[in-house]
């Protein structure tokens, strides 16, 4: 049976050149970068080279890169670190409702610590309106954090515009760019951001290596205290093989970015075009301003999990959106916040394409997915409509 991986937003396979770059650091080059003898110095040199190419991918300086173990850690670090560093100036933060849980839950934690948080809405396409950000600013606002691109609905936000507002008002701005870095061009200067989170496994690098960009001169309270690693801002012996892998993956992403975009976008457009012909199915997120390899839908009258299982049985691997939907069987907060009714949000399904995706894969998908929907709708208790649900008048519009 064919195996088709359409869940690149969950993680990417490791690029073979990345693996080759990492392998020596599991074997002979095992030194601790802080050690002053030769094996340590070699590890340190590799670490600093990785920092340079990682910085270059987002047009930052290498000293502005703090390596972390995950995008979630980078997001926690950004919010807590900036909130604590600036609490004498004010205790108000602004985030959007369509953030990743590593932002939303950190914001909720900070609320319990005495900070006030404004959660901004997004429109039906998942776009946060920059003027809403401006209106939410108070004299107490110390941080704005808006996601660059949603892994769930693919929408790319107007960060440059929001960043310009923050800059003009003298407020620090962070963006969670985990889903975007390596997939679309990202430049910290044209985005006008002070902090930016990104992770290697979203651009064919390894898991366990990610980074927080912190603009030079921005004070931040460390999340992890201990040694002098990462300039004293993130203690702990560095995961040298993974960081070396991140550096190599960043170098390849920078070199091949446009080629990668062209490849996935052409195939993604075919997938969206074909899938949109199915009755009672709605593309979620922005129709144009979205990640190039990203297609997300809500399918009426059936559940996302059922689609996932039947697709997996046909060798197609994809996701149903957030962990809320796939693990807790709750409606996704992101979909609810963009106005998708909760019963429709249950039918969420997300397909994300990558460099290994082929024309044949999409053709096979395009033949298989309509059959699966049709089969599930035959056994759905709502096959004839939403009568009896909490909002039977509201259906996805084609």
């Amino acid at each position: 049976m064919k195996k088709i991986y359409l869940d690149y937003v969950a993680t990417n396979p490791l690029h073979p050149e990345v693996l080759d770059a990492m392998l020596p650091y599991f074997n002979e080059l095992y030194g601790n970068p802080l050690s002053i003898y030769e094996p340590g110095m070699k590890a340190r040199t590799a670490l600093e080279q990785a920092r340079e190419s990682t910085a270059s991918l987002i047009n930052a300086k290498s000293k502005e890169i703090i390596f972390t173990a995950s995008g979630a850690e980078a997001n926690n670090f950004a919010l807590k670190g900036i909130a604590y560093a600036n609490q004498s100036k004010g205790k108000h933060l602004i985030v959007s409702k369509i953030e990743h849980h590593s932002i939303l839950n950190t914001a909720r934690f900070l609320e319990k610590q005495g900070f006030a948080v404004t959660y901004l809405p997004a429109d039906k396409n998942g776009t946060v309106n920059p003027s809403d950000v401006e209106k939410a600013v108070t004299k107490e606002t110390i941080l704005i954090s808006v996601i660059h691109a949603s892994p769930e609905i693919g929408t790319i936000e107007s960060i440059a515009e929001i960043g310009a507002i923050a800059k003009q008002k003298g407020i620090i701005i962070h963006t969670d760019a985990v889903a975007s870095v390596g997939n679309i061009p990202v430049d910290v200067n044209s985005l006008n951001v002070d902090l930016l989170s990104f992770a290697a496994h979203q651009f064919y690098g390894p898991k366990g290596a990610a980074a927080l960009y912190v603009r030079e001169g921005t004070r931040i309270v460390p999340l992890i205290y201990g040694g002098i690693q990462e300039g004293g801002r993130r203690a702990g012996t560095e995961n040298v093989p993974a960081i070396v892998g991140m550096g190599k993956a960043a170098e390849l992403a920078k070199r091949d970015l446009q080629k990668r975009i062209d490849h996935v976008k052409a195939l993604r457009d075919k997938l969206i075009e074909n899938t949109s012909r199915i009755d009672k199915i709605l593309l979620t997120g922005h129709p144009q301003l979205r990640l190039p390899g990203h297609a997300s839908f809500v399918v009426e009258y059936i559940e996302g999990e059922a689609m996932l299982l039947l697709l997996a049985a046909k060798g197609i691997y994809c996701a149903s959106g957030s962990a809320c939907s796939s693990k807790a069987l709750k409606a996704s907060p992101v979909l609810l916040s963009i106005g998708v009714p909760s019963h429709v949000a249950q039918g969420s399904v997300v397909f994300t394409l990558g460099q290994e995706t082929t024309e044949e894969d999409i053709q096979y998908f395009n033949e298989t997915f309509p059959q699966i929907i049709s089969r599930l709708r035959q056994i759905s208790p709502y096959a004839k409509g939403w009568e009896g649900t909490e909002d039977s008048t509201c259906t996805a519009k084609k």
Binding site: R219, V221, P222, G231
Partner: protein, 92 residues
């Protein structure tokens, strides 16, 4: 704290040739940073270190004493200290 490392508080900040901000960084970042930054300035120039680490009150004057550089004093700002060091000796 010995006789050579007595604290000297200033009433006003001093103009420095180089300033480095390590607020929220803990030990030993203040000492590593001084070493790095003092190498970047010329003899006679002034380095300012901004830190909120209390241990620096003892460590920075002691470092100056040990390395033969002039500890000019500390200005206590609202939530951090400003340490001033005049470079009077090249580090080995």
């Amino acid at each position: 704290m010995n006789e050579h490392t007595q604290l000297k508080f200033l009433n006003a900040p001093i103009n420095a040739d180089s300033t480095t901000d390590i607020i929220y960084m803990m030990c030993p970042m203040h000492l590593l940073t001084i070493e790095e930054k003092i190498r970047e300035i010329k003899n006679g120039q002034v380095l300012s270190i901004l830190t909120d680490y209390d241990g620096a009150l003892e460590d920075i004057p002691a470092w100056c004493n040990k390395t033969g550089n002039e500890f000019m004093g500390i200005y206590e700002d609202s939530d951090h200290y400003k340490f001033y060091i005049k470079k009077t000796k090249e580090l080995p």
